[in-house]
Structures are given as C-alpha cells and as structure tokens.
C-alpha cells in the first residue's frame, strides 16, 4: 500500500479509495476536478496542502499517524475540519442511517419484539452521540478557540482569564471509546445474533452505511484525541508560562 502525495491526481486517489469522498468535500473540494493533482487543486482553492495530504492519508490508512507533523497544524484549522465533520454527520449520515434502519426493520414485520430492541439501542446510541457533538460545539471548541486567541491578543487574554479562571482542557475531555463500542456492538448484534428473518438487502444497506459511519467516526476520534487535545495542552502550558 502506498501513501498519497501532492503529485497524485485527485481523481486517481478517489478511484483507489472512494471512502475519501466525504473527506475531500469537508476539506472544501467538489467533484469535477478533471486531471488536476492535489497540489493544483489546493492552490486553486486556497487549501493548506500539507493539511490536505496528511488528512487523507490518516483517513486512508488506519495505522498511519504522523503525530509530530500533525501537531504543526493550527487549532482553528483542525476545529474547522471537525465542525464540518459534525455537520456531515448531522445533516447527512445520521438521517441516512435513520432511513435505512427503518427500511430494514419494516421489512421484517414478524419480529416486532426484536425490532423494538434494535431500534431502541440505535436511538439511544444516536442520542448520546448528538449530545456529545453538541457539547463539543458549544463548550469545548469555543474554549479552545478562545485559548488560542488569548495567546496572541492581549484583550482576548484578559477576557479568557475572567471567563476561565482555572482553565484546563482536562475537565472537558470526554471518552470516545464508549461510542465506538456501541457502534461496534450494534454491528455485531445484527451480523451475529439477530434472527435473520429480515430482507437481507435492506439489512446489508444499513450495515454498509454503519461501516462507513464507523470508519469516519474512528478517524474523527483519533484526530480529536491525538491531535487536538495534545495541542490544547501545549497551548495551556504556553499560556501558563506567560503568567
């Protein structure tokens, strides 16, 4: 397997790994780019080339995680990417999952007790997930951006200190593994344990979407846990040293 680089044509990158489609959208690129290389496209659209290349590689290969290089990116850039990912989940992936699970459960009307359980498990998972994203958007990301601002802007510095007297990201960190586990459990329940009296094609369609969601979510958690949080801790230390 090979890593992608700036000289690759974006079209051939997508042919090699189509799961990158939503990722390039989030990075600000729409299809129809002809034979342009990643570098051409990034220059045209004003996208940070290194961030683009590293992001698609990290997504493409689970084992690839050049932590040191990733820590060079600005927090605002990382947060912007994460926010776009949330938007994609809320506006597309979750509604699509809802639609597919309903089609799947409706196609097996005899097993209503089991269906209820699956539906309830999924709904609870979804609710927890939405709460988690809301928390990040309303509390954690603003904190990080204000911290980032405080380091360069004296006015923001004062405001930051008043608002967060005993500031530390540690209070905000939330476990991601819990959600990853539930996603995994849902897949296993359907693959291994649910009586197969349902329409297999509907079941598959739901599972396909779930697998895609899972891959995206794992990648999202990795970026938060291994890039964003360490970076914030770094910034907090710098701020502390200014005092």
């Amino acid at each position: 397997m090979e890593l992608f680089n700036e000289n690759n044509k974006l079209a051939s990158v997508i042919h090699k790994d189509h799961s990158l489609l939503p990722v390039i959208n989030r990075l600000g690129i729409k299809l129809g780019f002809g034979d342009k290389t990643i570098q051409n496209i990034c220059e045209e659209k004003g996208i940070d080339l290194n961030f683009f290349v590293e992001t698609i590689n990290v997504f493409h290969y689970e084992a690839y995680f050049p932590e040191k290089r990733l820590l060079d990116f600005s927090v605002s850039m990382v947060i912007e990417y994460l926010l776009k990912t949330h938007k994609y989940y809320i506006e597309y992936l979750i509604p699509e999952n809802d639609r597919l699970i309903e089609l799947f459960l409706m196609a097996s009307p005899d097993e209503s007790a089991e269906n209820d359980l699956v539906r309830r498990f999924y709904t609870k998972f979804k609710e927890e997930f939405v709460i988690h994203m809301n928390f990040e958007e309303r509390v954690m990301f603003p904190y990080i951006l204000e911290l980032n601002d405080a380091l360069v802007n004296p006015v923001a510095y004062e405001a930051f200190h008043q608002k967060y007297p005993g500031y530390s990201i540690e209070g905000y960190e939330k476990e991601h593994s819990n959600m990853d586990d539930k996603m995994d459990d849902l897949k296993n329940i359907i693959i291994k344990y649910l009586p197969p009296n349902y329409d297999q094609n509907r079941g598959n369609a739901f599972l396909f979407n779930l697998f895609m969601f899972e891959k995206d979510l794992k990648n999202h958690s990795r970026i938060e846990d291994h890039i964003l949080i360490p970076k914030v801790k770094q910034l907090e230390k710098v701020l502390l040293s200014h005092e």
Partner: protein, 200 residues
C-alpha cells in the same frame, strides 16, 4: 503451538549508527526478532533461521545479495525486501524506508509487510459462555454493578471483571446495553424481566 512461523526483520547496513538506530526503532514494530548485518553475505553465519523475514537494505546491497538471502531463507517462510533510502526524498512511499522517516512511520511501514505474511494459526477461541459467565451476564442485565455481582456470587470484584472481559471476547459485545440485547436475543433472560427503557 510451537510450529507457528515467527516474523523477523533483517537490517543490512554497513553503518553502525544507521544499523543500531534503525534496529532500536524497529523494536516498536511487530517483528519478533531483529537481526543486524553489515553485509548481505553475513547471512551465512546464521544457519538456523526459520519463519518469515522482512529484509531491509539499500537498493545496491539488495541487488548484490538478494538471491543469496532468498536461497538461505526461503525454506519454510516468506521473504520480502524493502529498500532503505539514505538520502532525503520528498515523496512518501510505503515501499521503502527513508532515513528521515519518523519512528512511527518506520514501524508502520514494517508492520504493513509483516502483517501481509500468512497469519500464525487462527485463534479458535471457544464462543460458548460458561455457566458462571451466564450468571454474571444475567445479573449485569439487571443493572447490578461489578461489586454487587461479586457479593451475590461470593467472588471478588476482580473475578467479575475478568468474567466480563471473557464475555466480551466471546460475544464481540462490549457495552452493558449491548450485552443486554445479546442476552435477550439469546434468550438468556426474558425481555419482560428487565427495564429496557433503562438498560438499553
């Protein structure tokens, strides 16, 4: 279990600095053994090598000695070669190691190849839950904590945790609500006995 082929890395480089440094980094990979050679033909000093091998060396060295290495090593396992580039090259490729790669990337590239070797015999773990594990599962689905389950079964909390771990490994289900679903679908508990609104 003794006939599982091992996965080793052979690093060949005349420079002790590179050889030592690279071997140290590769200890973080999945290789079980790392063999250091200054020249390819030193492989003759190792008559009893067996298993799968990833050989890392400069393109020139590989050209010289890959045939010999293949002859010596290929009796019972696979042999893969990987180029070691000693000058800075900007293009990322997983097919070669570069002197300036980060340790994580080096181990990643090595693991990619090590993992492509035929797996050591698949683990055939028993998937049936034992009676004790079923009991733990039943109590778990009623919402009891590890401590409460331990008290009821007259065992330590540690034992309960280890049962839970085994249940997860056997069923592939990790969360408490997932286990409740499993127990209902497998008819280990009755759906009417538990409060699903709370537990799932």
């Amino acid at each position: 279990m003794s006939n599982i082929p091992t996965k080793s890395i052979i690093v060949i480089c005349p420079s002790d600095i590179v050889l030592g440094g690279l071997s140290e980094i590769l200890k973080g990979s999945q290789a079980e053994e790392i063999i250091q050679l200054h020249r390819g033909d030193e492989i003759l000093d190792y008559p009893k090598l067996s298993g799968h091998f990833l050989v890392i060396a400069s393109p020139e060295e590989l050209e010289k000695s890959s045939t010999l290495i293949r002859q010596i090593l290929s009796s019972d396992g696979k042999v893969q070669f990987m180029n070691l580039q000693l000058e800075l090259i900007s293009t990322n490729t997983n097919l070669a190691l570069n002197l300036y790669d980060s340790p994580a990337l080096i181990c990643y590239k090595a693991n990619e190849i090590l993992n492509s070797f035929p797996a050591s015999q698949p683990k055939d773990t028993d998937t049936e839950l034992t009676r004790r594990e079923m009991e733990v599962l039943r109590l778990l689905t009623k919402g009891y904590s590890n401590k409460e389950i331990a008290d009821q079964l007259f065992v330590s909390t540690h034992t309960v945790i280890s049962h839970r771990k085994n249940i997860s490994e056997k069923t592939g289900i990790k969360s408490a609500s997932g286990m409740t679903m499993y127990a209902i679908l497998k008819k280990i508990i009755d759906v009417n006995d538990i409060d699903t609104a709370d537990l799932i």
